[in-house]
Homo-oligomer: 355 residues x 2
Amino acid sequence: MKPTLQTVADAVGVSRSTVSNAYSRPDQLSPQLRETILEAAARLGYTGPHPAARSLRKGQVGAIGVLFSAELSYAFTDPYAVQFLRGLAETAERHNTGLLLIPLLSDGEAAAQAVQNAVVDGFCAYCVPAWHASYDAALARNLPMVIAEWHANADPGTRVVGIDDMAAARTAARHLTALGHRRIAVIAHWIGPVQHSGPITLARPEDAPHHVTRERLIGYRDAFAEVGVDWSEVTTISSIHNSREEGAAVAAHLLDRAPRPTAILAAADLLALGVLDALETRGLQAGRDISVVGFDDIPEAAAARLTTIRQPALDKGRIAGELLLDAERAERQVVLPTELMVRASTGPNNEAGRS
Amino acid sequence: MKPTLQTVADAVGVSRSTVSNAYSRPDQLSPQLRETILEAAARLGYTGPHPAARSLRKGQVGAIGVLFSAELSYAFTDPYAVQFLRGLAETAERHNTGLLLIPLLSDGEAAAQAVQNAVVDGFCAYCVPAWHASYDAALARNLPMVIAEWHANADPGTRVVGIDDMAAARTAARHLTALGHRRIAVIAHWIGPVQHSGPITLARPEDAPHHVTRERLIGYRDAFAEVGVDWSEVTTISSIHNSREEGAAVAAHLLDRAPRPTAILAAADLLALGVLDALETRGLQAGRDISVVGFDDIPEAAAARLTTIRQPALDKGRIAGELLLDAERAERQVVLPTELMVRASTGPNNEAGRS
DNA sequence: TCCAGAATCTGGATCGATACAGAAGGGTGA
DNA sequence: TCACCCTTCTGTATCGATCCAGATTCTGGA
């Protein structure tokens, strides 16, 4: 049988408490006794206090749970998500805390179970749809929890870090309208009530289920309204995953039928890069034939000369961690700045004079 | 105070066991009683069994610990590591298991602590140096553990998945010697006994402390020997981190002094890509002026037209997970295939006739 | 009507540690 | 010499669940 504290205590002839102290509070016993105990422990094959038992008693674990928007295996394909995670890891590391990546299974029951069973001190939700079982399950755990997306009217008690998605999206869209574009299409992740890949009609952006997508669509809509383009005239395309491949695939819906939009707004860089791929396949030039704007400014965006909105992914992760772990960090809500990065993928509308 | 099983039991007027069964073994009580219990639980704000307590009693957690070679925040910068993690996550997800990323702190004491306290069912070590405190601590935990690097003479009981690094490296080096290169330099991560960035002398590759690096250096050395180039003639450069930036930085030691090597072997693609950057800065052309070979075949390698060794990172992760979680998977040691991908970064030695 | 067997439910033992109050022994200053 | 404090160690209570053997009730067939 596996040795326990008691085993060692018996072997040395001291009490269980003393052995415990040898590990957790060395100042509570004489150095030579401690030495004896550790020696005996090594001899018996005792490897230190059982983590689960210790966590139970101390009411503290040393790990935080991370909830992702997609299956774990997808999370790592998105450079933006990886950056975020990196920032989070940086803070966690400083606090000697582990990160428990929790699979966000599509099976609600199992997902809730996974969250319920997570042995953690707190949660960090990264783009988890509010209706997802995991989200409720995490809230229900009643542990400290930080949400990595900005909510304008979040309860002042909840920890939130993010950007003003709506304003940033508005900036992106205004960039296009200022260039004279009016026939603009929008590609975003998960626009409608169900996951769907392809064109979709959404009467009001406010109805999009995914928080971040919703905010960005509203920003786009408002910018369009400023120049008299009604939302109903805008073609909206939904994607299931946030991937380059799918960006290219759904772009076909826009590029292979007339009239083509003169500009495309993608609510994520990966989708935008996919659109650029689709353009290249068709011999079209971004910025001249069709303007494309992304969102996030992942490293690849600069290489592809994609106009996009920069948001500080690394800082977001870092701060999310601090909001959970830095006890002295009093504030609970942090908004980070964004910036429009104008690159070669956007240019004036060439049809401007004609129509 | 936080409600427990007992709280709910008292409220409903049943025993603690029955409430426990309501959650964990629904078939052990009548549906209507279960309903009543869950209702009461919701009313009282009871959120289900306490994970630490449950883990303690059941002796099972539902998470595996992942040990990385570098600080967590660096791990995510290496696409190869990310791919591996993705594969691992895929398997974990299928088994409804979480991944606990454990910071591999440089402070040995703290690192060992982190491993000791990890509430997990097993460990997966990814390129953890064998001398690192975390490694011993993980072994000491006496839990199932898989090592994600191939060891030719590993104990048959230990779970191992990897590639034949030595043979693959030999193939990479032979490619260069076959092209007529003789003045070849080697860049690798952590060659000497201490972390160091820059040229370093290593009498025998066998002395390199890092297992993977050691294997690859031996492979290089053996291929050189086949054409009469002695290891002592080879310039070896060590890097601290496995990053593109550092690859470029240490390449300076080779490119800015005469005689320049005609070819460079980098033991990782990120380093090789850094070398390519350094070449470009100096107006040199890879494959013509200097040949460069990498290792790993990360996605960026193809884009940069880097000749390299492909190894299946995703599969490695996936299989590592299966070795831990698939009970019916009897084998314990898996070697994966590698392939030399010849691209534009290598070409014949132009000095061949001259010297 | 009676009883075996299934369906429900109970209670104490247990998982492996830490907290905390207090006991024992040793040292110090008045 | 005595009172007091400090260091070192002990023992019991507790963290919050699950396990398992057994008690109780229900069911259906002889």
